[in-house]
């Protein structure tokens, strides 16, 4: 392959991983044509649909990517599902380099008896509605007064924050107000947060715990035993100090009580058809007991969407690896798809930079052997029923969302993709 003519590069997925990869490649090879595909009409993956609605500073990383897509040679092709609208094989035929950054968007189910009872939900059931990915809001009015939250990571804390916040705590957010209203009509009275790990091994960031302290009317308790001999600067010590200060805060007549239970594992969801309680086991005391619950929400990780057509016959694409992102020269993976559903947005930049290095080396050292002429997106248009959503079309929908924002909201998101497509394709 001659490297002097611009290459056609396809990135599948416009979450942070796909965008960071496109950014790294564009900076080294500005003349190549990079097309970032997404099955959704809106770009940015879990930044838009996963990151909590009251963490706009985290979502603001998209401003970097807005600048990326403003470049002539970096294109967004939204509303195109690779594997369905276009087969991977066809994509590879028209692009010199194909990199998958399709993520792992499905909430993992907690695999214990009773997991299918009514009243057992996953974090995704709430988060994807609060983020207007889905329109379904009925779960919010049926959560009940006593909720058990299973999980000890930052996503569990996103859920906890949602459960205990009030109206005014959403100022400046882009929360789905239908979901919020449905919930705040009958909010929770007690939340028990079950964490299999000890407080010292929990996966949550202390800043996220400390943030809970700014919410009024909440009383916190925790079952962790004191420990003096920790390095003050360690994550464990900071986490302890954050939880201790939550517990120490005096709250008269609280609206909500939150009980952190560390080193406590849920063993069984109890009930006939509907959840009634949870059997738990405490590691320290080896005691089993039952706690009452109107509903349970699990936040125990994310996994690949294994039903997605892109993986059909290519199941090994879902295999997790810390090693190379190269599947073969010309074909790569990055981000959560490659590494598993762990790590924050910044970790995907480091990952994408590593994969970009591999791609650049394969190009420079002539390992991508395919002499056929590549036409990129143009070579695939005849296969598509509809034109992809371009970045400038998305900008129209984005501006509409910003303009529609109610007082105290940063934007009003369209629910799902249909209205985005309608806005994006309106001739004005």
């Amino acid at each position: 392959m001659t490297t002097d003519k611009p290459l056609q590069i396809a990135v599948v997925g416009s979450g942070p991983s796909g965008c960071f990869l496109a950014q790294a490649l564009n900076r080294k090879r500005p003349d190549d044509i990079i097309t970032v595909f997404d099955q959704l009409a809106a770009p940015y993956g879990l930044i838009r649909y996963g990151v909590a609605t009251d963490h706009q500073q985290t979502k603001s990383i998209t401003r970097q990517f807005d600048r990326l897509f403003a470049k002539e040679n970096v294109k967004f092709a939204g509303n195109i599902e690779i594997g369905a609208d276009i087969k991977i094989e066809d994509l590879r035929e028209q692009f010199d380099v194909v990199a998958l950054a399709t993520g792992r968007p499905n909430a993992r189910q907690l695999d214990i008896p009773g997991k299918d009872l009514d009243g057992v939900y996953t974090a995704a059931d709430l988060i994807y509605s609060l983020n207007s990915f889905r329109g379904k809001t009925d779960v919010f009015s049926t959560l009940g007064e006593h909720i058990v939250l299973v999980g000890g990571g930052n996503v569990a804390l996103d859920i906890l924050r949602f459960l205990i916040k009030e109206h005014t705590d959403y100022d400046g957010s882009d929360v789905n107000d239908d979901a919020l209203e449905a919930y705040l009509g009958a909010p929770v009275k007690t939340v028990t947060v079950l964490n299999r790990s000890s407080i010292d091994e929990a996966k949550s960031d202390s800043a996220m715990l400390r943030e809970l302290g700014s919410i009024e009317g909440v009383r916190f308790t925790s079952n962790h035993a004191p420990e003096e001999d920790l390095d003050e600067k360690s994550a464990a010590a900071r986490r302890r100090s954050a939880v201790d200060s939550l517990v120490d805060t005096q709250t008269s007549a609280p609206r909500v009580e939150v009980a952190f239970r560390f080193s406590t594992a849920p063993e069984q969801f109890l009930g006939q058809d509907t959840l009634e309680g949870i059997q738990i086991h405490e590691a320290e005391t080896q005691l089993r007991s039952e706690i009452y619950a109107d509903s349970a929400i699990t936040a125990v990780g994310f996994e690949a969407d294994d039903k997605s057509p892109i993986y059909k016959g290519h199941e090994d694409l879902m295999r997790i690896t810390e090693d190379s992102g190269r599947i073969e020269p010309g074909f790569y993976r990055t981000g959560w798809l490659k590494r598993g559903a762990v790590g924050t947005i910044p970790a995907n930049r480091a990952c994408a930079q590593g994969v970009a290095k591999e791609i650049l080396a394969d190009i420079d050292e002539n390992r991508i052997h395919d002499t056929a002429e590549k036409s990129g997106l143009d070579g695939l248009r005849h296969r598509l029923a509809e034109e992809p959503i371009s970045f400038s079309q998305w900008v129209l929908a984005n501006e509409k969302e910003l303009n529609l924002a109610d007082v105290n909201r940063i934007r009003k998101k369209f629910v799902g993709q249909r209205d985005i497509i309608a806005q994006a394709t309106t001739q004005n």
Binding site: Q64, A207, R210, P346, R349
Partner: protein, 161 residues
């Protein structure tokens, strides 16, 4: 003047900011300018032939971004004499992290000062929670006074010699 921009980043904001500063300075046509990632820059290259703009974010709990750690550790281990080095500092952070706000750049700043380098101009800051201003815009607004501070040193130095 000869200006070297050095950046430490983890999620890319500071890299983009460094590129924007470089473009702004280059476009003005008044100075020579280059930018480099701290993880690709040798501590031994720091000298008096250039003025330095450091831009650095904060990660973990008040820590340096991983791309700046090796540079920092080399400063600690080798303790070079930086008494003829002049620099300006721009720190990125997020007030969401109350206790550790903007500390990544401060760690670096403290070390540079300890080694004899002189910080000039205002300490620049960007707070990610102030959503209206992008990191690049904040840095571009800060830049003129940093350049002015550099040129004052230039005058002092030539006046002294």
């Amino acid at each position: 003047m000869n200006i070297q921009i050095l950046y430490g980043t983890e999620s890319g904001n500071t890299e983009l900011l460094a590129m924007d500063l470089e473009e702004e300075i280059a476009d003005s046509g008044d100075h020579e300018v280059e930018f480099a990632d701290l993880q690709e820059y040798e501590v031994s290259s720091l000298d008096s032939s250039k003025y330095y703009i450091f831009a650095c974010s904060t990660h973990g709990e008040g820590e340096l971004p991983y791309t700046a750690q090796e540079f920092y550790e080399t400063l600690v281990e080798e303790s070079p004499d930086l008494s003829d080095v002049y620099y300006a500092m721009f720190g990125l952070g997020d007030r969401f992290y109350e206790d550790t706000y903007s500390q990544g750049s401060e760690v670096l700043d403290k070390k540079l000062s300890e080694l004899g380098a002189t910080r000039v101009g205002e300490y620049g800051r960007h707070d990610a929670s102030s959503l209206e201003v992008t990191p690049s815009d904040a840095a571009l607004e800060w830049l003129p006074q940093a350049l002015a501070a550099f040129s004052e040193i230039g005058e002092d130095v030539s006046a002294a010699s």
